[in-house]
Symmetry: C2
């Protein structure tokens, strides 16, 4: 069994040995560029961990793992255009450094390269199974992005709708990565499904944690500006929960802040946090996260392999979901 750093080394090595073609440079350079912006490579690592539950020759699953990472980066490249985001991890986004045409076309070819790596898995039965899972989840990611776009202009988004959106936009891909790892290892259908639900539920818990960290994270440990969601007036789970349970005064004060206050960001963040705090929002949201986290690990428990094979997966997801506020 390999630990996370060992798996990340394998992934890095595979990507180095499988670069994009040199020409046309205008098409492929942006694909290489977005991959240099970093990212935890957690999706391909999960795929390899899913594989290692059942089989030892983990390198044979690398093409499928890389396919998932390329898909993720394709979706980032196109989302950045749709969100008009100038920066990603502090560097210019592809459509900013080049232009929108480049962002669209390089994203397209990156998606197609994801499918190319899938097809490198060789055994037609495995390729065919992977293709079905990958198509299903790729469709869902597009649907999740559409819901996210729709929500920007809607004032009446419910908490179940929000949870469904983060499930589709990000959580299902974590589930699919694990599922695909199991499919590469020819695991049985029950274990495949448990792994999918493990990743999916953990992914929802992770996104809920992300909403919490954005407002309550330790500035030293959290990579982004704390309070960024508040300053961007994002309808996060914290806002939706407040709108569900707070009294009229707090609701209208929050509503007021979401339309104003940009000129004094520190005052705005402090005021909105105070509304969250007096409505006990952090612990309510933490409970919501715990609910999904518990479901996730019940599915991991149910996977029918010896407990020692689950250690890396248990630790990695535990670390990801164990962030302090």
């Amino acid at each position: 069994m390999r630990n996370l750093p060992q798996l990340l080394d394998l992934i890095q090595d595979f990507s180095t040995k499988n670069p994009f073609p040199a020409a046309p440079a205008e098409l492929y350079e942006p694909c290489a560029y977005i991959l240099t912006l970093g990212g935890k490579r957690i999706r391909p690592a999960l795929l390899l961990m899913g594989y290692e539950l059942f089989q030892d020759d983990v390198a044979s699953a690398l093409p499928a793992a890389w396919a998932v990472e390329l898909f993720h980066n394709f979706s980032l490249m196109h989302d950045d255009i749709m969100d008009a985001a100038p920066l990603r991890r502090g560097k210019p986004t592809v459509h900013t450094r080049w232009n929108t045409t480049t962002g669209i076309l390089s994203g397209d070819v990156m998606l197609i390269y994801a499918y190319r790596f899938l097809s490198q898995m060789g055994d037609p039965e495995v390729v065919s199974n992977l293709l079905q899972t990958f198509n299903r989840v790729a469709t869902e990611v597009c649907e999740g992005q559409q819901l996210d776009v729709n929500f920007e202009t809607r004032a009446d988004v419910s908490i179940p709708e929000y949870l469904r959106m983060i499930e589709l936009k990000t959580a299902v891909l974590l589930g699919a990565a694990l599922e695909m790892g199991a499919l590469c290892a020819r695991a049985n259908q029950t274990d495949v499904e448990h792994l999918y639900h493990f990743g999916r539920s953990a992914g929802i818990a992770f996104q809920i944690q992300d909403d919490l960290l954005d407002t309550y994270g330790d500035p030293e440990k959290f990579g982004k500006q704390v309070g960024g969601d508040i300053l961007q007036n994002k309808k996060t789970l914290l806002v939706l929960k407040t709108m569900e349970i707070a009294n009229t005064n707090d609701r209208s004060e929050l509503d007021h802040w979401m339309k104003t206050g940009g000129e004094n960001p520190e005052e705005k963040v402090a005021a909105v946090r105070a509304i969250f705090d007096r409505n006990n929002i952090p612990s309510l949201i933490e409970a919501e996260k715990q609910r999904f986290q518990k479901t996730a690990f019940e599915h991991l428990d149910a996977v029918n392999v010896p407990e020692e094979r689950k250690a890396v997966l248990r630790q990695t997801l535990g670390d990801l979901l164990g962030r302090e506020y």
Copy 2:
């Protein structure tokens, strides 16, 4: 053996029975919309014809045929954004009727649906073979679009470069449609390759014909405005050939018209046509087309099936390539 109208009926029937999902409507309505704008459905028809060379149950190849049509429409949706095209077949393009975000995201999901239909072909061996061909050609289409984008800002495009661009951007997909039909029918590798080269060479001939028709077509028969390429200062094969063979005077006159003359379109079209005519460009380009057309039909001749099975394919491509000027 079914003729073209019968195959088109099968395709229409399949598309009616396999609509996009209803929700999210913002994502899927533009996919249905672009399919209503028409188009000859020549690519799926070619796939079915490729299949019928070898097997009779042509309906079983419909998912693969529809995958090729969806891929084609995905590429149109994204190309229209990159070209900033307001209209397609006289109707608003997707990004014009909706917006760029919609054009990107609906295009993405349409590409993923193409892969979904591929995976519906059932037999893992067939799916795996189709996936390899489809991935190869999808990559090439993106590369061709990139070359087309690059050429807009280059003054030194050569004729071989131009031919390579139209080969990648459009011809290889016609070849791949035929190849995939043969793969669905489990034809042998030699016949699969002949069919690919038949479609590819015919596709190049067709694009060359398209350049000719744009300037020399019968306005009654040609769907678009005759002279459109001249008015848009497009570096078509006619322009490139003139720049290759004409004397200094004609070259500089053509160069002058490509930078001016928009205020009097009829005068401009007539003047540029006169340059083409006195340099014998139409017959030189027609000879180029004939060269590819001849190669195409040599590959069809070489396919090892009885001649009567080739009749529909021979007639359909003959009609497509037999347009009068």
